[in-house]
């Protein structure tokens, strides 16, 4: 019996708990009744210094712990018993929330008291009840743990949404390049000759040697391919000093970067060796072979296949292998940003190979030209389904003859390229924004004219259609042409107030699908009934926001995350909003990628329509948080442009 049930006996609220909660975030936001209810479920426990309260992967978590007095350390222990200290928590701080919210109810870390510690324990039911009923509390925990939580959400996405296919844990995203390097760097003096280099490589069974000068400073690298192509094939004297054929300056990568980055860099540069640098010193070499050993279904294999193709038709089946490669990356814990970069790199290589072969077939172009990619491809944010958005830019012809030659050549090039791209499985653009359309094959003055018209006489509809053009980048050919067009925009757009205002209005078009009570709104009818359009409702507002402010501030970057980072670094975006935005955007991209990958594996054409009922509670919660960020971004735009609620 509770004393409170008797008349005249004071209904007892445990004041010490109430008092404490009312001064502790986020509980101080709760109304008096909720607070009293919570306080009455409280259990007070004491843990002498050195008590292990949670044991990682062993302790069932039945309570949320709030530290009243004392302190704990939080640490991880790996299989080898190596301890990684994660955090210290003191008075007013908590632990145990994550396993409860996550629903695993299993300690994910070790928690040990570092002094005599009193804790308020709240049963997990009471804590969950609070999370469900109080948006402010939910917000607080999601926010303060968003880093951890988003990671967990990713882990859940990986586990729940994908049937496990590969058991072997691969290290592409965890292994640092410094860990892969074995032994001291193998070097040879710059004055030594190539024969000595070849002998030493044979002796050591390695494919490359670093080259040092008199001061023992490493200045370059020589590989077995150099010996083959630059020495033997070229008939060079074997007494030639290695300094004459070495690759210099040396391409390096910091030792703390993960192997994924090394792979990406090697693919970008089309090289097979990277020197690993640690605090200014070269500690060794990492090769494509090292990475392939780490990797089963490797993007590198695909990459090699692409660059080795001798016919355009040979490229057709390769583009379809991209999803399988991407799947491996997702299984290994790649974040969406890495994945879209990888898809972009692979697609860029396919395009590069395709156009190289096509130009070989057609003969050299009459004028320097540049193949532009736009939209998501231009922003390096491609996922599995990417309609073609491309165009052709060429140098201004000097006379009529040159102009006619150019039109003839680029018409053939544009039309053939688009046919081949369709053959590779890239769907044509429904709006015909492709290099096969004469409108989008223009000399540089033609393009300036287009941009001038969009900027000077902005019509709302035209602004909407033109946005993807502002995300152009060079994918093949003479990149300086694209660069000069970019510089033209960077100089001119920031002054175009009316254009920017239209762009701002356009960025407010997509309303986040949250009702007043922040429940998810799904499409009520049509083909995608009960589904949520992740692209237009979720991702587009982030892209629009980043584009608007990048253009406004004359930032030449295209990638949405890149734009956001520069906006933040230049002080146009608060740290808080920046980090929220990045997390939300990455989560949405990840959600979309996995959704699409799943559809591909079920032999359905991938789309952007997600049914929220298929999501876990945590994913739904995180999704709502992401849409809340959209709302904040849009209100930022409204403030900046003094636009009311439309």
């Amino acid at each position: 019996m509770r004393a409170s049930s008797h008349t005249n006996i004071h209904a007892v609220a445990p004041e010490i708990v109430l008092e404490f909660l009312s001064h502790t975030l986020p509980f101080n936001e709760l109304d008096a009744d909720t607070l009293r209810n919570l306080a009455s479920s409280c259990i007070i426990d004491f843990f002498p210094k050195g008590t292990v309260i949670f044991r990682q992967a062993q302790t069932q978590v039945r309570h949320f712990y709030l530290i009243q007095k004392g302190g704990v350390k939080i640490y991880l222990k790996d299989e080898n018993g190596t301890v990684t200290l994660k955090d210290f928590r003191g008075e007013g701080e908590y632990f145990g929330a994550l396993p409860i919210i996550q629903g695993t109810n299993m300690a994910n870390l070790n928690v040990e008291t570092v002094e005599d510690t009193f804790c308020f324990l709240f049963p997990k039911e009471a804590f969950l009840g609070l999370i469900q009923s109080s948006p402010k509390v939910t917000h607080y925990f999601l926010r303060s743990m968003s880093e951890k939580l988003v990671k967990t959400a990713y882990a859940q996405l990986r586990q729940h949404k994908m049937a496990p296919r590969t058991e072997n844990a691969l290290f592409l995203f965890s292994a640092q390049v410094g860990d892969i390097v074995k032994g001291a760097p193998k070097t040879i003096a710059a004055t030594d000759n190539v024969q000595m280099a070849a002998a030493r490589m044979a002796e050591l069974h390695i494919g490359s040697l670093l080259i040092h000068d008199q001061e023992k400073k490493i200045i370059g690298i020589i590989t077995d391919r150099d010996l083959r192509t630059k020495v033997v094939a070229a008939g060079l004297d074997y007494q030639t000093p290695v300094s004459q054929i070495m690759a210099t300056p040396l391409k390096t990568i910091p030792s703390h970067q993960v192997c994924f980055d090394a792979m990406l860099q090697m693919m970008h540069l089309s090289i097979h060796h990277l020197a690993v640098e640690q605090q200014g010193a070269i500690i060794g070499v990492i090769t494509t072979h090292d990475i392939m050993l780490l990797q089963g279904t490797s993007p590198l294999y695909l990459f090699r296949e692409i660059v080795a193709q001798r016919t355009i038709e040979g490229l057709y089946p390769l583009a379809r292998k991209v999803p399988a490669v991407i799947r491996t990356l997702i299984e290994e814990g790649a974040k969406a940003n890495n994945i879209t970069r990888m898809i972009t790199v692979l697609n860029d290589h396919i395009l590069d190979r395709l156009l190289t072969l096509l130009v070989e077939e057609l003969g050299p172009a009459p004028l320097p030209f540049c193949w532009l990619v736009m939209g998501s491809e231009g922003r390096r944010e491609q996922t599995f389904i990417t309609d073609q958005d491309n165009a052709l830019l060429y140098a201004d012809p000097e006379n009529q003859t040159q102009a006619e030659l150019a039109v003839a050549y680029f018409t053939t090039l544009g039309e053939k390229a688009i046919r081949h791209l369709v053959g590779c499985g890239y769907p044509p653009c429904p709006g015909e924004i492709m290099a096969s359309n004469p409108k989008w094959r223009q000399p540089i003055t033609g393009w300036r004219g287009y941009f001038d018209r969009w900027l000077n006489r902005p019509e709302p509809l035209e602004v909407m259609h033109s946005t993807i053009f502002f995300d152009f980048r060079a994918a093949y050919g003479d990149a300086t042409l694209a660069e000069s067009l970019r510089q033209y925009l960077v100089r001119n757009v920031p002054q175009q107030e009316i254009f920017l205002l239209h762009l701002a209005k356009n960025a407010l078009e997509a309303r986040p699908p949250l009702s007043f009570f922040r429940n998810l709104i799904v499409e009520k009818d049509g083909e995608h009934k009960n589904s949520l359009d992740l692209k237009t409702k979720g991702l587009v507002p982030f892209v629009d926001f980043a584009r608007l402010f990048a253009l406004k501030h004359g930032i030449p970057e295209n990638n949405t995350l890149g734009r956001l980072q520069i906006l933040h670094e230049d002080g146009h975006l608060s740290h808080e909003l920046y980090s929220e935005t990045v997390k939300a955007y990455e989560f949405l991209m990840q959600l979309r990628l996995i959704h699409q990958l799943r559809m591909i594996e079920q032999n359905q054409p991938p789309d952007n329509h997600l049914n929220p009922a298929d999501l876990s509670e945590l994913e739904k919660q995180t999704l709502k948080e992401a849409f809340e960020v959209v709302r904040r971004l849009q209100s930022h735009i409204r403030q900046e442009y003094r636009l009311g609620e439309g």
Partner: protein, 236 residues
């Protein structure tokens, strides 16, 4: 035979008391201490004279599995039979008006006895509280409380004899076993003194602290903890 035993002949013992008497006679003292349920109590009195002074409030909190259940507290004001002496209000902050509207002890006590149930009772210098409660129980129910009592003051003394007090917390002129001072020495969260519930909670914190410190030294069962004091003059 004492006076109270004679009175028991004429007044039938309340059934709950009889049941508790039997229960506690057979209580196994060799269980680990967290197996027992405790009620930590404190009373505020009009004065210290058992014969003439009265209880004006009772505060108590339950401990199960060596954890304080903050939601299962007991707190009641009691209307004394005699008017409140002026000086006592200065200590426990209960105004005569508050007590005027409070129920008398014979209404509060059954609820409190029921609340205690089969728990072991804990208090700081618990003998004093028990003396006042037992006088009322004998009078009303024909029997004293049979619940075994644990005194945190004695536990603290045993702890001091055995393990000492951290140097930094020592105060000049020896040790005080006053509740507030003890808790300060041990670095426990502080409560507002001289409120029955606050003092009960403070005592509960002290009890939890001391018991777990004993457990850390290898004393696991109720019996072992009480035996820890044997061989010293503070044997229980």
């Amino acid at each position: 035979m004492s006076f109270f035993s004679i009175s028991e002949l004429f007044r039938p013992t309340h059934p709950m008391f009889a049941e508790n008497k039997h229960y506690f006679k057979t209580l196994d003292q060799f269980q680990p201490v967290e197996e027992y349920e405790f009620v930590v109590l404190d009373t505020e009195l009009t004065g210290l004279h058992e014969r003439q002074d009265e209880i004006v409030s009772i505060g108590a909190v339950r401990i199960k599995n060596m954890q304080i259940l903050a939601g299962e507290t007991f707190y009641a004001h009691v209307k004394p039979e005699k008017p409140l002496p002026k000086n006592s209000t200065l200590i426990h902050r209960i105004t005569p008006q508050q007590l005027e509207s409070a129920p008398p002890l014979h209404e509060v006590l059954p609820n409190f006895i029921y609340y205690c149930g089969k728990a072991l009772l804990v208090g700081h210098f618990v003998d004093l509280d028990i003396a006042f409660l037992n006088r009322a129980c004998r009078h009303l129910f024909g029997s004293p409380l049979h619940n075994p009592c644990v005194d945190t003051l004695r536990l603290a003394q045993i702890h001091l004899e055995r393990f000492g007090v951290p140097y930094r917390n020592k105060i000049d002129g020896g040790h005080s076993f006053n509740l507030t001072e003890l808790c300060r020495q041990y670095g426990l969260p502080a409560f507002v003194p001289h409120d029955a519930l606050q003092d009960a909670l403070q005592t509960a914190y002290l009890f939890l602290f001391l018991i777990k410190k004993f457990q850390g030294e290898g004393y696991r069962t109720m019996r072992e903890i009480f035996r820890a004091g044997q061989g010293s003059r503070w044997a229980l």
